[in-house]
C-alpha cells in the first residue's frame, strides 16, 4: 500500500527520524496561516509540496499550465499563491502518466539551507530474504538512475532480521557517507529509526530522499528528512489497524478499488482485449501471448484460487465497466478452481450484462469436460478455444473487426 509523503514523515518521526516542522493543508488560506506560523518561528523560507501518490512532483507540470508541484516560498503571498495553483489542479509527472493526479492536499513545511544531500533507504532483498539498507552520497536524485550510471556510489548494508540494524553497522554507513565528526551520533540514531520504521510498520520500502545536512542557528550541524516514502506490505495490514487508516482511496483507480473489495487482483491497462484468468503467472502469460499475436491487453485480472461464482461475476462486472474493451478472453486452467464453477459464472455474467462483444473461452483442467458441456448447453454465443495460442489468435482477430451493433 502506498501512502502520502506527510504520512510517511509522521511514521518516520514516530521512530525518531527528524522531519521539518510543518502541517498538512487543504486550502490556500490554511497554507498561508501555516506559513505565517513557521515564519513567526524565525524561519526565512517555507516549502509547499503537492501530496499525491507519485514521484517527480518538483519537475511536474499542472494541467492549468503552472510548473512545479513543489515550490519554495519567501513570504505569505507566495505560499498562498503556490498553494492555490496546486490545490484542485491536476499534476502530471513522470510517474503519473499523461492523465495526471488531482492535488487535494499540500504539505507546508520549513525549508532549510542545505549543506549536503544524501540518500538513505531500506528495501527487501528478494534474493537473500533480508532487509538491506541502501545509502548514497548523491541525494535528491532518482536513485534508480544513480544505480544505473554510478553504481559504485551506492553502499549496501545487509541487516540480520534477528538483531536488527546494529550501531556498528550504522556507524560504518555514516562513515561511508562521510559523516564521521559531529554528525556521527545523530546519524546512527537516524538510521536506526529508519530501519525501525521499516520493521515496525512492516514496510516493503522506506526511503529518505533527500536527507539534508544543514547548519542550525547555533552553528551546529544537523540532519533532517526532507522527503519520505513508505510502501507498506498489504498482507501485514491486518496487524496494523492504525496503518489501514492511512489508505487514500482518492489516489487509487476506482475499478482497482472495487476489484480489491472482491479479492480480485486487477490492473487496468490501455488495450482493448480484456483478460479473465486464474493465477497470476497465467494471467501475465495471457497478456504476453495477446501481445505476441498483435493485440493489446485491456487489463491484468487474476480471479485467484477458490473463486466463487460471485467473484467471477464481479470480474465480469469490472471488465464491463472498461469502455475500451472490445473482446473478452477467458483463460482458465483449473487446479484450485473448478471449471464448472467458472462455466456457471460465465453464463450468469453474460446473462446479467447482456454482453454484445465477443467472448472467447478456453477452459482446461479440473472438471473441464463438464464445464465445456455446460457452456455448450447454455445456448449463448461464446467462442470456444482449445489452446492458449488458439484463444489469443481468436481474441486478436475478433478485436480487429469493427464493432457490431446489435439489431
Amino acid at each position: 500500500m502506498n501512502i502520502h509523503e506527510y504520512q510517511a514523515k509522521q511514521l518516520l518521526s514516530k521512530h525518531d527520524v527528524p522531519v521539518p516542522p510543518g502541517k498538512l493543508c487543504k486550502t490556500p488560506e490554511e497554507a498561508r496561516s501555516v506559513a505565517g506560523k513557521l515564519f513567526g518561528l524565525g524561519y526565512s523560507r517555507v516549502i509547499v509540496k503537492s501530496q499525491i501518490h507519485a514521484g517527480g512532483r518538483g519537475k511536474g507540470v499542472f494541467k492549468n499550465g503552472k510548473r512545479g508541484g513543489v515550490k519554495i516560498c519567501k513570504n505569505l503571498t507566495e505560499a498562498y499563491i503556490n498553494a492555490k495553483n496546486m490545490l484542485g489542479n491536476v499534476l502530471v509527472t513522470k510517474q503519473t502518466g499523461p492523465e495526471g493526479k488531482l492535488v487535494r492536499k499540500v504539505l507546508v513545511e520549513v525549508a532549510l539551507d542545505v549543506q549536503q544531500e544524501l540518500y538513505v533507504g531500506v528495501v527487501l532483498d528478494h534474493s537473500i530474504g533480508r532487509p538491506v539498507m541502501i545509502t548514497c552520497k548523491e541525494g535528491g536524485m532518482d536513485i534508480e538512475e544513480v544505480a544505473a550510471t554510478n553504481p559504485q556510489s551506492i553502499v549496501r548494508e545487509v541487516i540480520d532480521p534477528a538483531i536488527g540494524l546494529m550501531p556498528f553497522q550504522a556507524r560504518r554507513i555514516a562513515i561511508n557517507l562521510g559523516l564521521n565528526s559531529e554528525l556521527l551520533t545523530l546519524t546512527v540514531k537516524l538510521l536506526q529509526g529508519l530501519y525501525k520504521t521499516w520493521w515496525e510498520c512492516e514496510a516493503t520500502l522506506v526511503e529518505i530522499n533527500p536527507l539534508h545536512i544543514f547548519r542550525q542557528a547555533d552553528g551546529q550541524q544537523n540532519l533532517v528528512a526532507v522527503d519520505g516514502k513508505v510502501v507498506l506490505d498489504d498482507n501485514a495490514l491486518f496487524r496494523h489497524p492504525e496503518l489501514v487508516e492511512l489508505r487514500d482511496y482518492d489516489e487509487e483507480s476506482p475499478l482497482e478499488v472495487e476489484a480489491s473489495n472482491y479479492n480480485l487482483s486487477y490492473i487496468k491497462l490501455n488495450g482493448n482485449i480484456a483478460c479473465l484468468v486464474n493465477g497470476a503467472g497465467l494471467a501475465m502469460a495471457t497478456m504476453d501471448i495477446i501481445k505476441y499475436y498483435g493485440g493489446d491487453p485491456a487489463n491484468f485480472l487474476d480471479v485467484g484460487g477458490g473463486a466463487s461464482p460471485e467473484q467471477v461475476a464481479a470480474a465480469f462486472k469490472i471488465i464491463a465497466s472498461d469502455p475500451n474493451v472490445k473482446v473478452i478472453l477467458v483463460n482458465i486452467f483449473g487446479g484450485i478452481m473448478q471449471c464448472d464453477i467458472i462455466a456457471n459464472g460465465i453464463i450468469s455474467a453474460v446473462n446479467d450484462h447482456q454482453f454484445k462483444i465477443p467472448i472467447i473461452v478456453r477452459l482446461e483442467g479440473n472438471k473441464s469436460d463438464i464445464a465445456r458441456q455446460i457452456l455448450k448447453d447454455s445456448g449463448l454465443n461464446l467462442i470456444s478455444a482449445t489452446t492458449m495460442a488458439d484463444a489469443a489468435e481468436k481474441a486478436v482477430k475478433a478485436a480487429s473487426k469493427p464493432v457490431q451493433v446489435a439489431a
Binding site: Q95, I289, A389
Partner: protein
C-alpha cells in the same frame, strides 16, 4: 527416481480440517498419495473422513506415523508458526500453500530455519507432484493443489514460480505423450524457501530427469541466479518461459514477488540471462513443451 518426494513419501497435512485443506487432502488421497496424518491443535485423537488420524502437534504426528513431509494449509496469520512447527519437528520438507503471509513473517521463518535440516517449498506455492505409474498418473505423490490427472510419469523436471502456468506447461507435455519426473512450484512470494537454482541442481543430479522446464516471471533475481549456475554446470537440455514481458513497471502483478522495481526484475533481463546460458526460450506460453522437445 524423482526429486524431493516419491510415491512412498508419507505426508502430514497441517490444517486438514479447513475447507481448502480438506478439499485438497481428499484429492491427494484419491490420487493415491500417502497422506497419513493431519495436524489440528485441539482436534487430536479425531479422524479426518473416518480414515486419517489427526494429531495436536506435528512432532506427535511424525513420531506416530513416520511422516517426513508436511503440507501447510493454515491461514496467513498462523502460517509462519505452522512452518516453524514442521521445521522444529525436523521434517525433511515443508510445503506451504498459504498465500498472503506477511513478508516479515517469512523473513523471520527463513532466519530461524538457518542450520536446520528442513527444506521449505513456498509459501504461496501450488506444491509438488511426482507422477505415479497408474491411470492418469495415479499412485504418485501429489502435495498441494495441482490437478493430479494432468501429469504423466516420465523424465522431464518442471520448476516454476506460478501455479496455473505450471499446469499449462505440464499439460502440454502430457498431451504430447511426454511424462514428468517431478513438478515443483517454488511459489510467487518475494521471499521463499527453495529457489529455481536449488531445484535445478536437484534435477541435474537426478538420473531419471532428462530435460528441464523452468517457468519464471518478473521480479527478483531467482531466474538470473539459476541461469548463471546453468551456464557453467548443467548439461541437461533446458527450456524456459518468463511471464510478464508486457507487465507495466512498478505494479505488482498478482504475486507479491512479481514486480519490476527500479528497472530490476524485467522479463527481458531474465530471458537474456537464460539465452547466455544456452537455455531455449519459449516465445509464448503455448510453446513451452515444444521448445524443450525440439532440443531433446
Amino acid at each position: 527416481m524423482s526429486i524431493l518426494v516419491d510415491s512412498s513419501t508419507k505426508v502430514i497435512v497441517q490444517g486438514i480440517t479447513g475447507h481448502f485443506g480438506a478439499q485438497h487432502t481428499r484429492l491427494s488421497l484419491d490420487y493415491g498419495t500417502k497422506i497419513i496424518a493431519g495436524v489440528v491443535p485441539g482436534k487430536g485423537g479425531k479422524l479426518f473422513d473416518e480414515k486419517v488420524p489427526i494429531f495436536n502437534t506435528v512432532a506427535e504426528a511424525k513420531q506416530e506415523t513416520g511422516a517426513t513431509v508436511s503440507v501447510i494449509f493454515v491461514p496467513p496469520p498462523y502460517a509462519a508458526d505452522a512452518i516453524l512447527e514442521a521445521v522444529f519437528a525436523e521434517l525433511d520438507l515443508a510445503v506451504c500453500v498459504t498465500e498472503f503471509i506477511p513478508v516479515r513473517d517469512v523473513i523471520m521463518v527463513k532466519r530461524a530455519m538457518e542450520g536446520t535440516k528442513t527444506k521449505l517449498l513456498g509459501p504461496n506455492c501450488p506444491g509438488i507432484v511426482t507422477p505415479g505409474s497408474g491411470n492418469n498418473s495415479y499412485g504418485g505423490c501429489r502435495i498441494g493443489i495441482s490437478p493430479g490427472y494432468i501429469h504423466k510419469k516420465g523424465h522431464i523436471g518442471v520448476a516454476s514460480r506460478s501455479g496455473t502456468l505450471t499446469y499449462e506447461a505440464v499439460w502440454q507435455l502430457t498431451s504430447r505423450g511426454v511424462g514428468q519426473s517431478t513438478c515443483v512450484g517454488i511459489g510467487g512470494d518475494p521471499v521463499h524457501g527453495l529457489s529455481h537454482l536449488d531445484i535445478i541442481k536437484m534435477f541435474n543430479e537426478d538420473p531419471d530427469t532428462h530435460g528441464i522446464i523452468i517457468i519464471g516471471e518478473i521480479g527478483g533475481t531467482s531466474e538470473e541466479q539459476a541461469a548463471e549456475w546453468i551456464k557453467h554446470n548443467c548439461k541437461k537440455p533446458i527450456a524456459a518461459f518468463v511471464a510478464g514481458s508486457t507487465a507495466p513497471p512498478g505494479r505488482r502483478m498478482g504475486h507479491a514477488g512479481a514486480i519490476i522495481s527500479g528497472g530490476k526484475g524485467t522479463a527481458a533481463a531474465k530471458i537474456e540471462a537464460f539465452k547466455e546460458a544456452d537455455v531455449a526460450i519459449a516465445p509464448t506460453p503455448a510453446d513451452i513443451a515444444d521448445t524443450l522437445l525440439k532440443i531433446m
